[in-house]
Structures are given as structure tokens and as C-alpha cells.
Point group: C2
Chain length 195, copies 2
């Protein structure tokens, strides 16, 4: 009379794994624990992810890191307002940072050589936004890496700082939301100096 347990899926496995990482940290994500959470023996996972844990971790970072900065297609023939790219990148940056911090446990995986495509997609979308904003190709490529590097790096600094903080406020507290936004503005302002 136990509920018949919906079948295993690649997506369901990765979602559950992400849930474990968010709740207990990357170090506690093991195949056996993941199996338990899915009400399945650990070895069952290998039928859906033949490359085992490697593939699982690849799936995690793809799930977290792929958030393209799609320029909203302008409605019927109206041109996108030329000055909007900064506002657009500001809001994209905020969303990307929020996602990275929501899943801070996978941040270390972003530094490993795993899954090179997940970030490539995001980089390409940033480059495209800058190109459409009028930057030359070389400047757009530089700008894309500069922005993405800043967002990821700053998120990593935040994750470290907030994780290591004792709750009784040992040093002066930092308004990380504001600091991230201010730094992003610095980067976006600096882009104007590119040719």
C-alpha cells in the first residue's frame, strides 16, 4: 500500500541531488544518500547516468550555470532602446548572482573543468547582448568575460564570507546586495571605455 513511487528520471535525479547539495552541502551528496532520497538503491542511478557521479555533477552545474542573458526580442519592429543594455545587464547580473547564491554548494564545481558548455552558452549570450548594443566584436568578447568573471567571482567571495560568519557579528556586517550592485555598476561603467 505504499505509494508506487514515480519512475526514475535523469531530471528527477538531478533535481533531488541539487536539493541535497542545497540542504546539506556538496560533501554530503553521495550516491547512496541520493538513492535513499529517491527511494531506490544507489546502483539504480547508473542506469540513467551511465557516467555515474561525474555525469551527476555535470548535470548540477548545467542546471545552475546556464542562464543566458537573452536580450528581449523587441516587439514588432520597434528597435530596442539603445541605452537599455546597461539596465538589462544589471538585472541579468542580479538574477545570475541570486541563482549562484541559492546553490552556493555547486560553486566549487564551476571552478573545475567540468561541463565546459554550460558557461559557454551564458558567455555567448552576454557577448551577443553587447554586440547588439553596438560594441565591436573584440570589445563584446572582452566585456562578456569581464562581466561573467566579476559576477561569478563576487558571488564566490560572498558565499565564503557569509558561510564563515559567526551569527554574533564579529566584524562590521557588509550589505552584500548593495556591494554586488555597486561593483557591477563599476564594471558596466568601465565597459564604456572600450573601443
Amino acid at each position: 500500500m505504499t505509494s508506487p513511487r514515480e519512475p526514475l528520471t535523469r531530471d528527477r535525479i538531478i533535481d533531488t541531488a541539487l536539493h541535497i547539495v542545497d540542504g546539506q552541502g556538496l560533501g554530503r551528496l553521495t550516491m547512496r544518500r541520493l538513492g535513499d532520497a529517491l527511494q531506490v538503491e544507489a546502483m539504480a542511478i547508473y542506469h540513467h547516468l551511465p557516467r555515474g557521479k561525474e555525469e551527476l555533477l555535470d548535470g548540477l552545474i548545467a542546471h545552475v550555470a546556464a542562464l543566458p542573458a537573452a536580450w528581449p526580442r523587441p516587439a514588432n519592429g520597434t528597435r530596442p532602446a539603445a541605452g537599455d543594455w546597461r539596465a538589462h545587464l544589471r538585472s541579468w547580473g542580479g538574477a545570475y548572482r541570486a541563482r549562484l547564491l541559492d546553490h552556493a554548494g555547486v560553486l566549487p564545481l564551476l571552478m573545475t573543468r567540468r561541463n565546459p558548455t554550460a558557461l559557454a552558452e551564458t558567455t555567448a549570450s552576454l557577448r551577443e547582448v553587447l554586440r547588439m548594443a553596438g560594441f565591436l566584436d573584440a570589445a563584446a568578447a572582452t566585456g562578456a568575460h569581464t562581466i561573467l568573471g566579476y559576477v561569478i567571482g563576487h558571488a564566490a567571495l560572498e558565499a565564503r564570507a557569509t558561510a564563515a560568519r559567526r551569527p554574533d557579528d564579529p566584524e562590521e556586517a557588509v550589505d552584500w546586495d548593495h556591494r554586488f550592485a555597486a561593483g557591477l555598476d563599476v564594471v558596466l561603467a568601465g565597459l564604456l571605455t572600450l573601443p
Copy 2:
């Protein structure tokens, strides 16, 4: 008649560990392998690093991440040239990036909550440089995190991209040295917009 093996030291252990990580990757750094490299049983390491692998990894990132951007003390009473801070930060950034890429294997550790002090020192030194360059405290704090975030994040992007590259040049190659420098210039130029 075997050479009498110089005694174990905390520093020698960490140096050897770093050598293993650089040569074979973080995943192959194990206590037993480290013991072999030191010609010692694995458990001997615990006498010098009582907290075991945690302490070892902490030592690794302290060794890599602590490179303060010390402003060169001006020689006898000469004031530092006011405009030099950008050049100084450019060269510091290049050195920091080079070190991160030399030890790309420890980059994932920088993202974990380990050893909060190693980066704090570097951040403080950046803040100090900016303060001495005339920035207000708040702007210096923002600028320090912006610079450090960019440098770390960009180095991570580079490490990923170069590690995943097939040697036969699948996409157009990127001049990473130039791209990093250009992005750092973007950030430094953007700092001028801070109050």
C-alpha cells in the same frame, strides 16, 4: 644506504601537496599518496596537521590565495605618485592571476568556506591601496571586492576554458593574457566613477 630522508615539516607537507595538486589534480591528492611522496606512512602526516585533510587544504589555499597588494612604501619621505595606483593594481592583478593559474587545482577550494582569513588579508590590502589612492572608505571597500572578484572569477573562466580545450583548436583561440588585461582595465576604469 638510502638517503636519511629529511624530517617532516608542516611546510614541506604543504609544498609537496601543492606539487601533487599541480601535477595530477586535486582529485588525486590523498593522504596515502601524499605520504608516499614524502616517503612516510600516511598517518605520520597527522602529527604535523592534527586536523588532517581539512588542515592540509586550508594550508594549500593560504599558500595560494594570500598575495597582498602591498603598496610599495615610498622611499624616505617621497610621496607615492598619486596616479600610480592603477599601474600598481594592474601589475598586482597580473601576478595574482598568474599564481591562481599556476595552481588552478586549488581554485575549487577558494569557493568553499575554508580558511576565511587567507582572502580577507588580500581584500584588506586592496582596500588599503584604494584608500591611499584617495577613495572614500565605502568606495575602497566596494572597489576591493570588485577587483578581487573579477580577478578570481576571470581566472576561473580561463582555467575551465584552457583545461577543456582539445589541442587541435576547435574554436578560435583566445588570447587570455590580453583578455584578462583588457578586462582588468575595464574594472579599473570603472572605479573612477565611484564617489
